[in-house]
Amino acid sequence: MNKGFLIAILAGLMPLQVLAGEYDISVDRVQIDTGDFVKEGIGYNGASPGPVLRFKEGEKVTINVTNNLDEMTSIHWHGLILPFEQDGVPGISFPGIKPGETFTYKFPIVQNGTYWFHSHSGFQEPNGAYGAIVIEPEGREPFRYDREYVVQLTDKHPHSGDRIMRNLKMSADYYNRQQQTVGDFFSESAEKGFMATLMDRMMWGDMRMMKADIEDVQGFTGLMNGKGPEQNWTGLFKPGERVRLRFINSSAMTYFDIRIPGLEMTVVQADGNNVQPVNVDEFRIGVAETYDVIVHIKDEEAYTIFAESMGRSGYARGTLAPEEGMTAEVPELREAPLLTMADMAGHMDHGDMKHDDMNGDNMAGMDHSDMGGNDEMDHSAMGHGSMDHGDDASLPEDPFYAKGSGLVPTASNGGKFLSYSDLKAQKPLYEDREPTREIELRLTGNMERYEWSINGIKYEDADPIVLQYGERVRFKFVNETMMTHPMHLHGMWSILEVGEGKWNPLKHVISVAPATTVYMETEVDAPGEWAFHCHLSYHAASGMFRKIVVEGGPDSTVAEGKQSGKQGGES
């Protein structure tokens, strides 16, 4: 009653209408039934996924999070711009929420779009602690739709997060069941010749790397809004309607390639920010990214939403239908891609190879004399035949993948596949200006040991990255590993460099493919301490993680005060 009174007074005092919403979330042990298996996990308000939180831009939210677990928990509001103490990262933003305690988050909603929330403690997020956030804009949206659905994806695994991490540490290929077999060797020999195949295997064997190392954690069931492929989540529509689908990839480890056979999708939003509409047949959603698409459905037919994992080891599936129970054909998984030498730039150094050459337009132009120095293998004997498949002329070029990469996605119907370079901001948030400095971040790792790092240093051994309030920093990501890393900066926008100047899109996750260099810029406009990490759960947990400290700024004294209180007056 007091609260309501207070809100009424506050509302009366505000010149503009300000909403103040109060929300309660409990963190609970739950059962997760994927249709393939039932597993104990962690959820919100008794379910996984948790509730869809609907906020309104301009609203001031109060969220009471009660921890019903017997371990610490936390909630991170993924993609939300808020004071750093409200960001929910234990050890950085706050101490975490103890068992039995209630922590109250309070922050203004200063943006709109599709986001999500999840635990930032241990492996609670892979274990089910995630939910969706939809923020209605204050003004009108630049596109029309008749109804909308949140389509939240995840990769639910029968093993707990701790178990997965432990297994990966014991054997990095524990979950990889797409490795090349003796049979593959013979069928490839028949196609490309015995020597070429042998040389190819020798080259990979020399590096102790696997072409099939695209998804670390296979064996999951893809869930769409918590439902497995057999349970078939269904969204209803009336023929003629425009349906907005808010795709959120809440996976621990899995990128999905999404298509709705028979429907063209218009991408209108990426990571919560409006983009100039792009019509696509298929798009890839990195871990932790969100994409809003609009489909205009004319016929009274059912359509399958098919989210195939990037490594083709699993899928999530749902249906858009005019009435409950209608289904459409579910496509087969496509053949699993394989990495190529072009994806291996960072590892070529083992053999003293000049990897710049590998990125060249023409692999046949490679100067083999440069590749000497490896006593274990005669590179001059390397057949070009074995590399040709990495240089397939039929593949479209995309600046966000290495040339000749085995990961370049193509639409299953031969149509348009969304690229990062198609993303242009609808309305720039920041003035375009020269960055004040550049910070190079090499994404590094040792696959055999399952260690991941930035600039070769794991989180626990690294100093924080210090930024100054008011700067515009240019981050240069150089992916030296063979895996794709979705890099997530908390608290501030990541302006993805697609070469469009002020129209470069705003994102909160930047996916960096193997052997590529990707730039993003950040207007350093949020003081405090922030997390910055690869959003693949087991990569972050094994060290691909940094603390970012923003010094200076309007709230710096407040920020410092809180910090010193927490760390026992260290400063």
Binding site: E71, V89, P90, I92, S121, R166, M170, T181, E460
Partner: protein
């Protein structure tokens, strides 16, 4: 037997006490975002061997580890139980600390305690283990016994994937001694080789993989003579059936 049981119980207890603080530690401190300590137990071989001379052996070989990326503590065990004599023909326990020395190689150091039927030996161990190019898993150690005798062993394993679940693994082991230790049947020079080929199937993840296979054991020169003198064979073919276990 009882000695082994006792040592296993003791180690199991140690492993439990070591694992407990790791769980508590997860939530404390400012490094909560990354996992740092890990453990694992696996038996690469847990098998029954039947030789062409009707010898029956139960064989176990495996390890348990606890530690971080930078430093692991391992208990490595290897035993051969001979049915006919109802005795451990071979029983080795190694306790080593292991640390990375390059991208693919780890160095280790510790002690090895041999307690088969007959004379016991305690050794100091220095070893190198890792993944060689072309996917050969290699483990090699230098041992110096309390009698002052030095020896070197070398093990290599290669896995061939028939499918992603049917796996053929080929193993090679050899021991070379720099001096003779008659009491335990070790001659100078090349002692023995063991070559094995096993076909396994991953039945439950990689946690339980039953297999069948063949193993060839041979003793050489002085060691062979010592074996002959004590009435043993110098060469054996074994049919093996067993399982690889990892959890």
């Amino acid at each position: 037997m009882s000695r082994l049981t006792a040592s296993m119980c003791c180690l199991a207890l140690t492993a439990t006490t070591l694992a407990t603080p790791a769980i508590a530690q997860e939530d404390a401190g400012k490094k909560t975002q990354t996992s740092r300590t890990f453990w694992g137990v696996s038996a690469e071989k847990l098998e029954y061997r039947y030789s062409d001379s009707d010898e029956e052996l139960a064989v176990i070989e495996g390890d348990a580890f606890y530690g971080t990326d930078e430093l692991k503590f391992l208990w490595l065990f290897e035993g051969e139980w001979e049915e006919a004599h109802n005795a451990w023909e071979m029983l080795e326990n190694q306790f080593v600390a292991q640390t990375p020395v390059s991208d693919f190689w780890d160095a280790k150091a510790g002690i090895r305690i041999d307690t088969p039927e007959g004379p016991d030996r305690v050794y100091g161990v220095l070893g190198l283990t890792g993944l060689a190019p072309y996917w050969f898993e290699v483990d090699t150690n230098l041992y110096v016994s309390d009698e002052g005798d030095a020896s070197v062993d070398f093990e290599a394993e290669y896995e061939l994937l028939i499918t992603n679940y049917w796996i053929v693994s080929a193993t090679f082991e050899t021991l070379v001694a720099f001096s003779e230790d008659k009491e335990i049947g070790v001659g100078e020079g090349l002692n023995s080789t063991e070559v094995g080929v096993r076909l396994s199937y991953d039945l439950i993840d990689r946690a339980f993989s039953p297999y069948i296979g063949v193993v060839h054991e041979r003793k050489y020169s002085d060691t062979a003579n010592l074996a002959r003198d004590s009435g043993g064979g110098t060469e054996d073919w074994f049919a093996v059936v067993g399982a690889r276990i990892s959890f």
